[in-house]
Symmetry: C2
Subunit: 463 residues, 2 copies
């Protein structure tokens, strides 16, 4: 590898080839804090440098692992000593803003929050939003087809990308920087790179779609008497709020009660004895009308028995107080560690049965075991945390089977938004048919025949 690194240093500068402590000091997994074991970290400054690096790696049959903001949860950033890490941290410029066409052209290493802020400066909205906004990068958001808390209104990252540029395994550059909302001129190549977790190419730049910014954002926390109330409320708000429903997040009582009364970490805006709590947001441009519409919809939901109680945030502080309960992952870890976290999707009507059966199965095996459930319910997406007292690999496998196996029959997915990485690879067969997996391998072989890009992530090539 040393000769290769010398050649690479000639391209990117020796200060941008990190080795030794500079590598091991980096954490590749924010949850476990595991450090980086790659042979070296290479930091190209632009697409041309990256293309040259990949041509060298291709000639040397050198596998690489791409790093964005390292906020992933499925070990997609892990790298072995015989692998090189390509970090896009220096490629973080906003290249251009087109306020009339409502597009933003950015380099892949740009943090999500910076993109949100630049859009807001032009009175526009970049619609993707998720907890890791300060650290995660646009390239990582694209590679994993990120989701988050606005999917119900604006779709996932896939819907926010108009065009992109990617460097392929052989160092060729596919520049598909389309800025048009509609472009049916041949295959839509960007789709290949969105959500394929860096296994088909390295995304270097993207044209992002912006939306009109909504000046009024009203937030309510509601309590539901049962799951029929939760799903009824979702349908009710879909009808009553029309295009304004911006968020529909649900916490099971085991989440809400733990992070309020039980832990004392957050003040509960509603008492914690109801089985389900939902955070709903309505987005609009006329604050009075938006508030009136949301209030009326909640009132009729109360009359219809879909909800038992509701509180409408009257200030940013109150709004943040509600969100803090939902986003208090630190609290979850502190009170439940060691714990395993999961990200699944399944049909909404199957959710209460799935979660109840999960709790039963866990407690049958570990009487002190606990589960906590919350998620983007409007998108069919639940996050499940399971705490059984230890986090040994064998325990993890047992818990994984309990969580994942019922999804096959329900037509659900072992990954709603986190991706597959290394962590879920063995469970892909629960959500995909042999013919689908065969076609995925056909694509991987066609685009990366030497298996250089994020080797063995998502799917192992030879099986």
């Amino acid at each position: 590898m040393q000769a290769l690194l010398t050649d690479i240093a000639a391209v990117v500068g020796s200060g941008n080839v990190l080795t030794g402590d500079d590598v091991t000091q980096r954490r590749v997994d924010w949850m476990s804090g595991a450090s980086c074991h790659a042979g070296a970290i290479v930091r190209p400054g632009n697409t041309d440098e990256l293309a040259a690096v990949m041509r060298l790696c291709h000639a040397a049959r050198q596998p690489v692992v791409t790093h964005g903001g390292l906020t992933g949860l499925v070990h997609g950033g892990e790298a072995a000593p015989d692998e090189l890490v390509i970090s896009l941290e220096r490629m973080n410029a906003i290249e251009s803003v087109d306020p009339i066409g409502s597009t933003l052209t950015v380099q892949a290493g740009t943090p999500l929050q910076k993109v949100q802020e630049i859009a807001a400066e032009h009175d526009l909205l970049f619609a993707l939003d998720l907890g890791a906004r300060g650290s995660c990068t646009i390239g990582g958001n694209i590679a994993t087809n990120a989701g988050g808390v606005r999917v119900i209104r604006y779709g996932m990252m896939r819907q926010q990308v108009l065009g992109l540029e990617a460097v392929l395994a052989d160092g060729s550059v596919v520049s598909s920087l389309n800025r048009m909302l509609k472009n049916n001129a041949g295959y839509d190549l960007k789709q290949l790179f969105i959500g394929s977790e860096g296994t088909l190419g390295i995304v270097t730049r993207a044209v992002l779609r912006l939306h009109p910014r909504m000046s009024s954002e009203r937030t309510a926390l509601v309590a539901c008497p049962d799951f029929a109330g939760v799903s009824g409320l979702l349908a009710h708000l879909g009808r009553e709020l029309g295009g304004s429903l911006g968020t529909f997040e649900v916490m099971w009582r085991n989440h809400y009660a733990l992070l309020t009364e039980e832990s004392g970490r957050n003040t509960p805006p509603l008492p914690p004895h109801w089985p389900y709590y939902a955070i709903v947001e309505s987005l609009g441009n006329d604050d009075a009308a938006n508030t009136a519409q949301l209030s009326a919809a909640l009132e009729s939901a109360l009359e219809a028995g879909l909800i038992e109680d509701a509180v409408l945030a009257q200030s940013d502080t109150q709004r943040q107080g509600i969100w803090n309960i939902r986003e208090d992952i630190e609290g979850l870890i502190q009170h439940l560690a060691p714990l395993f976290t999961f990200d699944v999707s399944l049909p909404i009507p199957d959710m209460p049965g799935y979660a109840a059966e999960l709790e039963r199965a866990v407690q049958q095996r570990w009487p002190q075991g606990r589960i906590v459930v919350f998620g983007h319910l409007g998108d069919g997406n639940l996050h499940v945390s399971v705490s059984v007292g230890d986090d040994e690999p064998a325990t993890r496998r047992t818990v994984e089977r309990i969580v994942y196996e019922p999804l096959a029959e329900l037509g659900g997915s072992v990954s709603a938004e986190h991706g597959i990485g290394l962590e879920k690879r063995d469970y892909l067969t629960l959500s995909r048919t042999p013919e689908e997996l065969a076609l995925m391998r056909t694509l991987k072989r066609a685009l990366d025949p030497l298996n250089l890009l994020n080797r063995d992530k998502v799917l192992a090539l030879e099986e």
Copy 2:
């Protein structure tokens, strides 16, 4: 081919292998009325039959052309005597409706309008809508990534598809009938088949996403004094109506005046002397609130000088009267034939200059030449008709160059929503880079190495 047809008849029944007059009586192009020249038309009754047919074709190296509703405009349905047509006309069942999950599972040969109607019966909306709704099929909508008049609110066909099933060139069946809104379990294979015009696989079934149905749909026709008014109005309505803006269609005066006063075909709700006319629609659930919001937005647009005049439809008849002007393609053909029609996208600010230059270039060469422009302006998509007195192939090539060549510099597309087919293949290089075309060929070779599926459509394999 005879031996193969005998084998195929054993699979689908001899009544479903059409030859002779039964083939030539079919028109493959609704605009020209050209008839079908295929060796035969095969009508499989289900996926298994189609898979068996494709296994036979694959073994015999027999190229096929897939037919849906034959409403395409780029000669995608043309078939040579040495090709077989696969018609999906018998595969037209609605397989299931899930009103809670808001999904519909249908066979590919189902007409769009039938899908819209079934969704409405469940008080839900299937969001794709276009003029050919009565004839075009879901499979064709998927294969061409259809657009239409609701893209600004709901996106193109790609956004309406949650899962699909496709038969590959070798007869294998990839069943990827996902029903989840979020599913990041490996590559999103359905994207390969959406918009690739049947060249990578034959779509047989699909899971479609439904939306809450909007009970209030208010339509206005407005006149703008200049293009700054048009683009200003779009931004204004994006802000003021928020998620409610459902349509933003624009007619240049050359369209509006021709199809009202000049031809006498439609009564003009507004006098035809303004340079631009826009049809705007606002979708909501509370008719009074929706009407008030739209009225207020139009009033402030009037005050801001973005529009000169406006009429809000007060009945379905008035609404239909407005749409009849926009959708009167028959009138266009009658008054301008012979004519050439185009479907392009380009940045909105460049539209007035592009259209004016087009008119200048046409009239410089053909002093009696006329152009007519209308389109889905909110999506950056214009439809241009050019009439120069004859429709000889050489004339067509000259006009095509005038229409398409300026798009390269503007970053526009030679196809916004109609696709490439045979008609635009030679102009693909204006909208795509050599690296993009190379990657498209890599995909085609990986999925259809024998070049059996819609051979030479979209891109020629050997160039």
